[in-house]
């Protein structure tokens, strides 16, 4: 099997896995025909194309023609509504929001009344993954900017996309909104700490297992969905297209972004369209490249030039973390708005996936802000525990009832957290489940050349990917900021989107979303052992 991120969610041990309790596949919506008295039983035949037919074996001539049976299908909305899985089942996602779906659409998108403007938005982490893979394969250092230019040429000339953008400007907008929300919460002594909202795996997990945490999660849309709003509403205006006249595809480092795009919150019912129509992963983009025989290692003309004056600034850099720098955006905001100088100290708790960031007043060392960066499933558990304990919210059920008095009295007197950048994947988004897998080493441990795929030996079973994640991280930061003044454009975007000014209502509509608890109604088999 090729090392593509497209087919396997992951073999790392810290991701959230699908549940065993998915009940959807056994549902059959096919109605059985009314049974006639004494009617013969039927059999199911499979034709050469793999379709299933119900036939009457006794007298085929007399009975009804073979009836094609429907396949039971699971939609993404089923997944979102069901509490069976903690997160998405990859097989479901692959069939419904896949690269073939994108290719099929592009094939059928002929000029005419129903023509939709195909637009592609790529996450910076995706570009970093591709850059790391190309650099490692060719031994020629290649930056995400070069990759973006090459992918743009491919998508425009071969696939027929009219616009190929990256999502960093949308992130710029989302970060601004995030900081704004943080200020609102602090001023109104709202639910604190504020928890990051960009990771759909974390959102899904919280909705399904920790509804008590939902009030703490920021309501700011993720960069992907902000990009959706930008493309369909703002850029649509400049292109003179209505939202449903644009087909918006995003390329993401993460499978759960597909679930995010499918949320009803991001469905425009006026135009019957989604802000992001289809999401593919980095691995799926690589598959498309492979299928079309396009080699990303070949340079394209002008790939080192300054960005052309295009609609959006290209590859904006937000210093901080490679998962979006949410924490750092807030830290820098707190610092710059503080009346007295503040000093930042960083404490690594156990490893780089769990770090505490504390801002103290330079003069008297008084703590004014405490934030944390917290990646990976087990650290996510600890955040949930910590926030539950600090804020005294009910965590869980059952024996927790006996816990009440005790938990309160034990609550620490130290200052609680103000903000946590939560991501479900260890290593954050550069190590997302949809990213490319590390290239297979052709040398074994003793330096002998060996074809690992052929011999069927699983190499580096234990966290072989850590080194690779480091490479992707390096590639991510190898972009230097160039080009336009983003804030000037930002002002223009806001003016265009809400000419009457950005008030509470328009903020909610354009840049915020909401969450809801999914109650568990799936009961596993009554297990007695």
């Amino acid at each position: 099997m090729a090392f593509s991120g497209a087919l396997t969610l992951t073999d790392l041990s810290d991701f959230i896995t699908p549940s065993q309790a998915c009940i959807k596949p056994v549902e059959q919506t096919n109605k059985a025909p009314e049974k006639q008295l004494g009617a013969a039983s039927t059999e199911i035949h499979i034709d050469s194309g793999g379709a299933y037919y119900e036939v009457s074996p006794d007298d085929p001539a007399l009975s009804a023609p073979p009836r094609k049976l429907e396949q039971a299908q699971i939609s993404l909305n089923d997944c979102l509504a069901c509490s069976g899985c903690i997160t998405s089942a990859e097989s479901v996602l692959i069939t419904l929001q896949s690269h073939t779906e994108v290719l099929n659409f592009l094939d059928s998108n002929s000029p005419g009344e129903s023509y939709k403007l195909p637009t592609l938005s790529i996450a910076p982490q995706t570009l970093a993954s591709l850059a790391a893979a190309i650099s490692s394969r060719t031994a020629v250092p290649t930056t995400p900017r070069q990759i973006l230019r090459r992918v743009r040429v491919f998508c425009e000339t071969v696939l027929g996309f009219t616009h190929v953008l990256d999502t960093s400007f949308a992130r710029h907008l989302a970060l601004r909104e995030h900081v704004q929300e943080f200020d609102e919460r602090r001023a109104q002594s709202g639910q604190m700490p504020m928890l990051a909202s960009a990771c759909p795996g974390w959102i899904c997990y919280a909705e399904k297992t920790h509804s008590e945490i939902l009030p703490f999660i920021a309501r700011t849309k993720s960069p992907q969905q902000t990009m959706g709003t930008l493309v369909k509403e703002w850029m649509g205006q400049t292109w003179r297209k209505l939202p449903h006249e644009i087909y918006h595809v995003s390329v993401m480092p993460c499978y759960d972004k597909k679930l995010e795009a499918s949320r009803t919150d991001f469905y425009n019912s006026v135009y019957s369209t989604r802000d992001v129509d289809c999401v593919i992963t980095t691995g799926e983009l690589e598959l498309i490249l492979q299928e079309k025989g396009w080699d990303l290692s070949s340079p394209v003309p002008g790939e080192l030039d300054d960005p052309p004056p295009s609609t959006l600034p290209e590859l904006m850099v937000h210093p901080g973390t490679s998962s979006g720098s949410y924490l750092h955006a807030i830290i820098s905001h707190v610092k710059t708005t503080s009346p007295t100088p503040l000093v930042l100290s960083v404490k690594t708790m156990r490893n780089s996936d769990y770090e505490e960031y504390i801002l103290r007043r330079e003069t008297d060392q008084v703590e004014v802000f405490k934030g944390a960066k917290c990646y990976g499933f087990r650290n996510l558990q600890n955040v949930v525990r910590k926030v539950g304990k600090e804020r005294g919210v009910r965590v869980g059920s059952g024996a927790a009832g006996r816990l009440a008095g005790r938990a309160q009295s034990n609550r620490a007197l130290e200052r609680g957290l103000d903000y946590v950048e939560v991501m479900a994947c260890p290593g954050g988004c550069v190590n997302g489940g949809g990213q490319l897998k590390p290239p297979a080493s052709t040398l074994d441990a003793e330096g002998y050349p060996r074809d690992w795929e052929e011999t069927g030996v699983a190499q580096n079973a234990k966290w072989g990917d850590k080194e690779w994640t480091k490479k992707v991280e390096e590639a991510y930061w190898s972009v230097e900021q160039r080009g336009d003044d983003a804030d000037q454009l930002l002002g223009r975007v806001l003016d265009d989107l809400c000419p009457a000014g950005l008030d509470h209502e328009s903020r909610n509509r354009l840049f915020r979303t909401s969450y809801r608890a999914v109650e568990s109604d799936v009961v596993g088999l009554a297990v007695k052992w």
């Binding site: 558990q381 600890n382 869980g396």
Partner: protein, 338 residues
Amino acid sequence: MALSYTVQAIQQLPGHEDRAWHVCWNPTKPLLASCSADKSVRVYQYNDAANFSHLTTISTGHTKTVRSLAWAPSGKTLATASFDANIGIWEQEDGDWECASLLEGHETECKSVAYSSSGTLLASCSRDKTVWIWEVHPDSDFECLSVLMEHTQDVKCVSWHPTEEILASASYDDTIKMYLDDPSDDWFCFLTLTGHTSTVWSLAWSPEKSYLASASDDKTVRIWRRVAQHKWECALVLEGNERSVYSVTWGPGKAPSSSLGWVAAVGGDGFIRVWELSENEDSSLHHNLIAQLPNAHDVHDVNSAVWCPRQGFQDLLATTGDDGTTRIWRVESKIDHV
């Protein structure tokens, strides 16, 4: 064949309203706790003459069966693993057992819980196929250190090495896995033991620390020998059970100090069987069935068997059964007895 020891009934401890799953001896105090599908934990005390009396019943608040128990090495804290997917941590306050903490995270039924020998780590496992490792902090606080997704099926049992920070887990996938902490990284599985042909239900380390016993649905108990720092191999297969073996326990008993002590196993056939194990001169394993008792819980399955770890009581065995009782036994030499 005449066996040299007998399994003498000492006392029967009724009280659970549903099947009794597991029993656990306090390592430092004369206390014994049992848990049940009735969601309660019953705590007994005993005196030097091995007279047991009911001390208290903890209504745990777990919403489903309490499947297993573990005392911390200090003897001050009790952990409960429940089918409601949570782990309860219990401490005594003014004489009453209070829930000091609740560990959530497992998606489905928790099957087993275990403290490491230092008491600083707690492991739990579940039908959700995962093994979790928690660090024990002051004030009944816990931090999740690792979520290990190595097994392909329900994980039945977790057990820490008697002195080292090595964790073993047993599963419905017929394997046993062992885990270590990489100080610069994360916990990882360094070994998978295969050989059992059905579910592995229970694990027990030998008192001299280099052997591990496993009980399986394949009707056998396997003994695994440490052959290198991080390597164990199957050294012996104990047969004789007629049905699934649900529980195995390994203690010094009253065996000669030159031996490896006593292994007791119980299960679906209702027997208590006790073997004495020792190493031959060629370092192969010698086993000798020294005692057995049929119908230990009458017609019912026996769910667990545990040797008392406390000095002077190491010939005491506690068992629990589907009849809801906990029974205390002493394995006695026939010669002494006469």
